[in-house]
Symmetry: C2
Subunit: 338 residues, 2 copies
């Protein structure tokens, strides 16, 4: 197999200024690297495209090191083990892990997790049963600690994380208001996902509409977008509110630097809290999160939706769907199907 | 007494734009109001001048209602009961409470607290044993939860609250870095108060100096100033850092609105927390706070300093010392001495 198969991979060759573009990457055809001791060769089926990838392309200190120039672009993926040099993982197993944006990944067996392809479609392991699911589950429940009857607001409400945050908050007995771009996404979060209300930030005055939907103020805000929407929600916090900073997709491609929340003193007057987190903090508790999400999915209490786009070669353009707000549910790139 | 004594009081007559000025107030001579049932008449000795007063002058929702136009300017004070219409408080008692900026205050007996003038000089009941003391004690210990060996940074380090925060952090075994304006204040916090280091924001590059003094990052930041200094400290947070938002004196008189912390995403990458509070949240625990502060003062482990200015009539100008960074320790206005 090693001698005949070729691998195609996207390498990061320039640090993007603003939105990433095709010329920031090099699509390279290269020989597959045979797995060394303790390693496996994974044929990548689906890749997870995430807003966080934009941050990984920047230089500088963050919660994980940046992708080095010339290195394969980092990405989570799900695929099939086609060669194994570790007794713990058999050929044929389906695994998730950081495969990178490529067709074949040679990775440490200890760094992939086996999943059951019979229990859920593979893309779901990159969504509700993967990092977005864990982000929503732990970010909402651990950071925000929503209580029954409280008003929970989530931005990016039709996105991979936001859609799950709102549904988990409903399960916990909260009143849930989603903020999303466009009437179709808003209908989706109310009619399909069961949110109590949705605000179309492209077509409505967010502040006025949110005041109406949260007359007693916002107890919990799960922020995926930053920028103006964060500022508006801060201005409507209830006393002792909790704000989780999960992301700031409106700011990742800014050329002039991040816009700070001008209304941060609302934290002072409301004795409120704003807390950042990354899902990796909860690595030791993923089992708990996956079991909960899987049960809610099985019971039909949570609906998951993936937005699957075909073809490794479309990676740079497909990624942009995230920043243009064009994806609907978890954005996944199909590399090889099943 | 009612028939012969006159009261002088500062009433708020205009909402300040930027720094408060004399013409925002009216100094009125008026008859003393005799205490009704359950009330006492207090001869005010000292008034507390606080940055928070600036916020009370603004219209709009906050943690307490704004001072109404035409009303006596709100202020904490300490004084002597000269007439009592409540059996619980005797004439001659020394009390603290919200007396307002005036010579004689007619207040509810239930809303003043008796203090012992033999145990501490009266101005201290407006400082280390008053609201600034409680703010420092609960804000640091409850919101920031400093652990031994951690690096604690406090701004406004020579001010009423900051000086106490740093000293309490030292008692708790932390490494303490103060930020203050001018070499004299910096010498005070290191040489007199025992901080490990001080940064003169007027004369030093705060970021470079703080990097040197907090090589492993900032575990706790107690912010009294907001603005650029908040942004610099955010950029140097350690993982799991706690930031207490106590005030933002650099922003209170802004004409163009508050400057938001551009580096707030440091909360995300460091899984850090930023939390606002007001001292009134801890009203039921003031007893605990006062006992702790009094013990540390008695043991010489905490030093308190008051900056006493003479004369009720100087109120509008004396208040400005806070915003110009001219006060050294707790700013107090002497109205009638002891």
């Amino acid at each position: 197999m090693k001698s005949t198969l070729q691998n195609r991979q996207f390498r990061l060759i320039a640090r993007p200024s603003g939105l990433p573009k095709r010329s920031d990457f090099d699509l390279v055809t290269t020989a597959i690297v045979a797995p060394g001791p303790g390693e496996v060769l994974v044929r990548v089926r689906y890749l997870s495209l995430d807003p966080a990838m934009r941050g990984w392309m920047n230089e500088g200190k963050s919660y994980i090191p940046p992708v080095g120039l010339g290195e394969v672009m980092r990405a989570g993926g799900v695929g099939s083990v086609v060669e194994s040099n570790d007794p713990a993982v058999a050929v044929g197993a389906t695994v998730v892990g950081l495969t990178g944006v490529q067709e074949y990944a040679t990775v440490k067996a200890a760094e992939v997790t086996r999943v059951d392809p019979a229990l859920a479609p593979l893309p779901r392991y990159l969504g509700a049963l993967g990092m977005p699911g864990m982000t929503a589950y732990f970010g909402l429940l651990d950071i925000c600690q929503p209580k029954e009857g409280e008003t929970v607001v989530v931005s990016g409400a039709a996105g991979a994380v936001g859609a799950l945050v709102g549904q988990i908050a409903k399960i916990k007995g909260c009143r849930v208001v989603g903020i999303a771009g466009g009437a179709e996404k808003c209908r989706y979060v109310t009619d399909e996902l069961g949110f109590d209300a949705a605000i179309d930030y492209k077509g409505e005055d967010v502040r006025e509409t949110l005041k109406r939907h949260a007359p007693k103020g916002v107890d919990v805000y799960f922020d995926n977008v930053g920028g103006e929407i964060l500022d508006v929600v801060l201005s409507l916090l209830a006393r002792r509110a909790r704000v989780a900073i999960c992301g700031a997709i409106s700011q990742y491609n800014n050329l002039e630097g991040v816009e700070g929340p001008k209304n941060y003193l609302s934290l002072l007057v409301n004795s409120a809290r704003m807390e950042g987190f990354v899902v990796f903090n909860y690595a030791t508790r993923y089992g708990e999160g996956v079991r909960a999400m899987a049960a809610w999915l099985a019971e039909g209490r949570i609906k998951a939706r993936e937005d699957v786009v075909d073809g490794l070669e479309t990676f740079p353009e497909t990624l942009l769907k995230l920043f243009k707000g064009e994806n609907f549910g978890k954005l996944v790139l199909r590399v090889a199907g099943e």
